[in-house]
């Protein structure tokens, strides 16, 4: 499986995504330059974390107009997988690949720590290697992670099982105390309607190496691999 990782000016999670794919999974990985119109035959496109265009104006606002995004949108339309992590999630929302928006954390501060999230949808192409309600330990590192959307959008996300992950207590319970950035319904990650675009604030690509902590992000990548094999 070939992973294509987009490098926008200001991306910095591209390196981590690349190493997760190439080292932890041993799959083929390539960087995709934002000015190009070429996905280099990637199967999975990753919109990585970081600060594309410095997060100036609004996180993700400028990056969505990069030339490569035309191809990324087309890739999504074809039903091919797009994994949008952190800043990538913000870009995906701005680009209309996912509904809603990510706003300043409720604490108004940047938060870098390990959080626990509960798997809400364990059947998507990104998550079927997890079991339902499994609790994962994943790092977060963001200032603008508070997910919001219009009530009808939230309702359809909930009704269609498109909430992929929710911030939770270590025992899986949900509550304000664990809603680290104040997202609506503790939403940490969502899927698009056809289930081939996943946006999430936590960093699965930083949680693939036991040397650095619990490798709970691996399941996400293994889900993608298994999906193709199947």
């Amino acid at each position: 499986m070939k992973f294509g990782i987009v490098t926008f000016p200001g991306s910095n999670g591209d390196y981590d995504a690349y190493h997760a794919a190439a080292e932890a999974l041993g799959e083929e990985a390539v960087y995709l330059w934002h000015k190009d119109h070429d996905l280099k035959d990637s199967d999975v496109v990753i919109l990585p974390g970081g600060f594309s265009y410095g997060d100036y104006l609004r996180a993700g606002a400028i990056a969505r107009f990069s030339p490569i995004m035309t191809e990324v949108v087309a890739h999504a339309k074809r039903g091919a997988p797009i994994l949008a992590i952190c800043n990538g999630f913000q870009v995906a929302c701005e680009a209309g690949l996912l509904p809603g928006a990510l706003m300043r954390n409720i604490s108004r501060r940047f938060i870098s720590r390990v959080v626990t999230v509960r798997v809400e949808n364990a059947t998507s192409m990104f998550t079927h290697e997890y079991f339902a309600a499994q609790v994962l330990r994943l790092p977060i590192a963001h200032g603008d992670g508070r997910y919001i959307a219009d009530p009808d959008v939230i309702a359809s996300l909930e009704d269609d099982g498109r909430v992929a992950f929710r911030y939770s207590a270590p025992d899986g319970s949900i509550g304000d105390a664990y809603n680290v950035n104040g997202s609506v319904n503790s939403i940490a990650g969502i899927l698009n309607e056809s289930g081939n675009v996943l946006g999430l604030m936590p960093h699965p690509e930083r949680a693939v190496d036991p040397l650095l902590g619990v490798p709970d992000g691996l399941g996400l990548f293994h889900s993608l691999l298994a999906g193709v094999a199947a």
Partner: protein
């Protein structure tokens, strides 16, 4: 062609939670400004454009807002009247 400066106000849409604004209200009260009732925080931009007329300047900045400067999911924007700007000054 004149150089016009178009001021743009971008504000959080009504109903969108504005924790920054809430923090500022708290801060102002602590500082003794008891009469403050609410604060909303958004962005203020000045966009300098070359245009043939004030109307043309407004039109083009309007388009910029729709396309890039504001996010309709969370923000509303309003333009002020363009002002002719002397050249060679920022």
């Amino acid at each position: 062609m004149e150089l016009y400066r178009v001021p743009v106000q971008i504000v959080p849409r009504p109903g969108i939670l504005d924790p920054q604004g809430a923090a500022v209200v708290g801060a102002l009260k602590t500082l003794g400004f008891a009469s403050v009732v609410d604060v909303r925080i958004g962005r203020f931009l000045t966009v300098d454009v070359d245009a043939d007329s004030a109307e043309a300047a407004t039109l083009i900045v309007q388009r910029m807002c729709e396309k890039l400067l504001a996010n309709p999911v969370i923000e509303d924007f309003a333009l002020e009247a363009p002002r002719v700007q002397p050249r060679g000054k920022s």
